[in-house]
Amino acid sequence: MVDLSVKIGDFEMANPVMPASGTFSPEMAQVIDINRLGATMTKTVSRELRDGNPPPRVAEVECGMINCIGLPGKGIDYFLTELMPEYLQFSPPLIVSVTSTTEADFAAMARDVTVPGVKALEINISCPTRDPNGGNFALHAEHTAETVRGVRAATDLPIFVKLSPNAGDVVGIARAAEEAGADALTVANTILSMRIDTHSFKPSLGFKTGGMSGPAVKPIIMRMVYQISKAVSIPIIGCGGIVKAEDVVEYMLAGASAVQIGYASFRNPTAMISIIGDLEEWCDRRGIARVSDLTGAVQDDMETDTYIAAAAGI
């Protein structure tokens, strides 16, 4: 039987599967046994009450969806007093996702949520549904570094920095986050996208643009995980388009230590639980002793000579 446990630095998980922020809440207990997840993850918490964006907030596209939720929430005080206890009913370690609009407040937010029960922070500097220009601090290495530095100084909890796939130089930004003290990188948030309804001629989303998630984005984020894992030495959490156990394996081969799942839970609320079971079976079939052995295990010493490669068997 495979050992499914993984570590993201000092953060330990019974298996590599956790929900992606904004796609999970304790309300999922209506349909799944939350205690079977590797970790739990809050919706991103902001300082103040935010209404979020005008509906429609979702559009179906080929191979996924676009959302423009816009980080609604009742603010950090409500979170700490009302929502935290809900999350803490469950045994997996809790990660709190926070965001802010200034670097100083990001640090303050991190300090405010550094309370018993919270096992790690995810710093959401990459939400494209708040800023249609595609994702906040994570678009620039300097802003990323400054934000992470502030957060690092404010808390001793493990800091996972959630990067933006809308950045041009995602590797440089990953390096900046590492240097500034990130313990791990979540790769990545959603990709800024759009759909126009050819019947009504209107954007399908109330906010016009939104973030795409689901299988469509997987090859793009896979490439980012691979590139970043070659450039940094901190762990990576792969996130984007996972719908089956092989997708988890693929992200781990590319360099991820754990994964997050969002869209799949909308299509199949039981997806995370099934994927954990399938992953176990997959590893057992392949004779893999520890799932963590998959991390970075891609065999990428490819033939570089075109003539030689083009003379090889298929």
Partner: protein, 292 residues
């Protein structure tokens, strides 16, 4: 399958119809279940009536609750989000669920392709349904269009609770005035109003309601499916101090609460606030809901 190298999907697929439905949380009230289609017939030009097998969990569905359908594709593409459909009838004896749905787009047209014995993946029962207060002995149910499907299980609720009802079914034409049979069986006083004969005009509906109110036969209001009729009922509710419930719709993703896709605006104590149709509703207090 042999030698599945290079596959895109190679394990048990967690996708349309895939049997991803082992009981993942025995104590949870909601399940992702693979039902079997028993019937899926046109009842008029626009609506189909779907009957599927039901597990004990789904048979606990209450009037006004809904199921989230993973519809097959109606075309060469695939569907990537579920579609909410409220329960039309819970047949506890024969262990069946029934739905009445209008074919309007890809999801519902995909559902329309289902044939007996097909498997159909649905999540439910979901949301907050209609409820009766012990002192409600005679109620008014007013619906139109798709709303008639959502209101239909109130017939079961009133029958079980020995409540009388006036049921006003509004429709473009008589054949679209669905659910009347269920309410008649439940002993309700069914009034059908149609555009064809002009009886569906708001003034006429208003006078029917006012008549019941005048006779003390309106302890509560229930409505769904028409903004015009909702606004009428809300106004009459305010005027006469009659409580009411309305079933609302919104485009959904998760159907379970986490995603905040399905928000609508409510006014509570003069303050605007957003609530999620999937978990805070779909049935809401009529006075808090806004017209759409």
């Amino acid at each position: 399958m042999t030698g599945m190298a290079n596959t895109v999907f190679s394990s048990r697929a967690h996708i349309v119809g895939g049997d991803n439905t082992a009981d993942h949380a025995p104590k949870a009230p909601v399940e992702e279940a693979l039902t079997t289609v028993l019937a899926n017939d046109w009842i008029n030009d626009e609506y189909k009536h779907l009957v599927v097998t039901a597990s004990p969990k789904s048979l606990a569905a209450r009037p006004g609750q809904f199921f989230h359908w993973l519809c097959p594709s109606p075309d060469e593409g695939d569907l990537w989000l579920r579609r909410p459909q409220s329960i039309y009838r819970v047949d506890r004896e024969r262990e069946r669920l029934e739905f009445l749905y209008k074919c309007v787009g890809r999801g519902t047209n995909g559902a329309a392709t289902l044939k007996p014995d097909d498997k159909f993946n649905m999540v439910g029962p979901l949301g907050v349904g209609f409820s009766l207060q012990p002192d409600w002995k005679d109620v008014i149910v007013l619906g139109r269009g798709v709303g008639l499907a959502t209101l239909a299980p109130i017939s079961q609720m009133i029958a079980e609770n020995n409540v009388s009802a006036t049921v006003i079914l509004s429709a473009r034409s008589p054949e679209l005035a669905m659910s009347g049979d269920l309410f008649e069986k439940a002993g309700a006083d069914v009034v059908t109003v149609t555009d064809t004969d002009g009886t569906s005009a708001v003034e006429n509906v208003e006078s029917i309601i006012e008549d019941r109110v005048a006779h003390g036969r309106a302890d509560a209001f229930f409505t769904c499916g028409s903004n015009r009729l909702f606004m009428l009922m809300k106004r009459l509710g305010t005027k006469h101090g009659i409580p009411g419930q309305v079933a609302m719709e919104q485009i959904m993703a998760c159907g379970l609460g986490p995603c905040y896709v399905c928000v609508r605006t409510f006014v509570i104590g003069g303050e605007k606030t957003l609530k999620r149709v999937c978990i805070d509703g779909p049935v809401f207090d009529m006075q808090e809901a806004m017209g759409w």
